[in-house]
Symmetry: C2
Subunit: 108 residues, 2 copies
DNA sequence: TTAAAATATTCCTTTACAAGAATATTCGTT
DNA sequence: AACGAATATTCTTGTAAAGGAATATTTTAA
């Protein structure tokens, strides 16, 4: 069982965290490197990483007194799967209101 | 130009709004119908729809004194495109830290 | 033009959460 | 053991936003 969509979306909805995730696309990084590249203070970087970690978007690998963070793929796959549930809609005449209006008339 | 990912994610990060969006997958609905199906009060339903509308996720069609809301597809396509930028990563040996560790050593 | 239904808006209160600053922890090195 | 570097945690404060209640707006019908 994977984290639900809401957890993933909430974690990603914060600008700095979104930046962190986008940065980590390029490869694993330590806290210090992330903080430096995004011009963040270390404590908030750790805190954001903590949120991302709790949401299952990121995991850490200890290396000496450093911690190397990298993305987890499952939540992104889940999100992709969720979006796929919309995909088949667009091809249909979803945006044509004819059918709905007829249904609406029927109720009156 | 489409709304950026952050706007979309922020709008979807709220549980009720996520519910609304998922409900609208099945087809356009009026405010009253949404409120009824999700057991929400009308004012908060309108407010959530307002946020979704401002974020470009939803649009309304006036029909008498009702308003029929439906999904907009562009933001979802954009989000899908954003996720695609992760896709090629998973196939690579992204999760193998070897390379990174070597890089890290080189810096010391 | 008044009334009623559907929806939108405003105001208020409360809560969640991010930033900032300070401190604690952990690990390797000497 | 002690120190310094890297990271985590705690505490406080400020702010954005969600919920509730009341009211305003819009539209149709009588």
């Amino acid at each position: 069982m994977s984290a639900n969509i809401h957890v993933t979306l909430s974690a990603l909805a914060e600008p700095k965290r979104l930046q962190i995730v986008e940065l980590l696309r390029e490869g694993p990084l330590t806290v210090g490197e992330i903080a430096e590249k995004l011009e963040l203070l270390q404590p908030q970087t750790s805190k954001h990483l903590g949120v991302l970690n709790k949401a299952g978007l990121v995991e850490a690998e200890a290396q000496a007194n450093k911690r190397i963070y990298k993305l987890c793929q499952q939540p992104f796959k889940d999100l992709d799967g969720w979006l796929a549930s919309f995909g088949h809609i667009w091809e249909q005449r979803y945006d044509r209101l004819d059918e709905y209006l007829r249904k609406l008339q029927g109720k009156d």
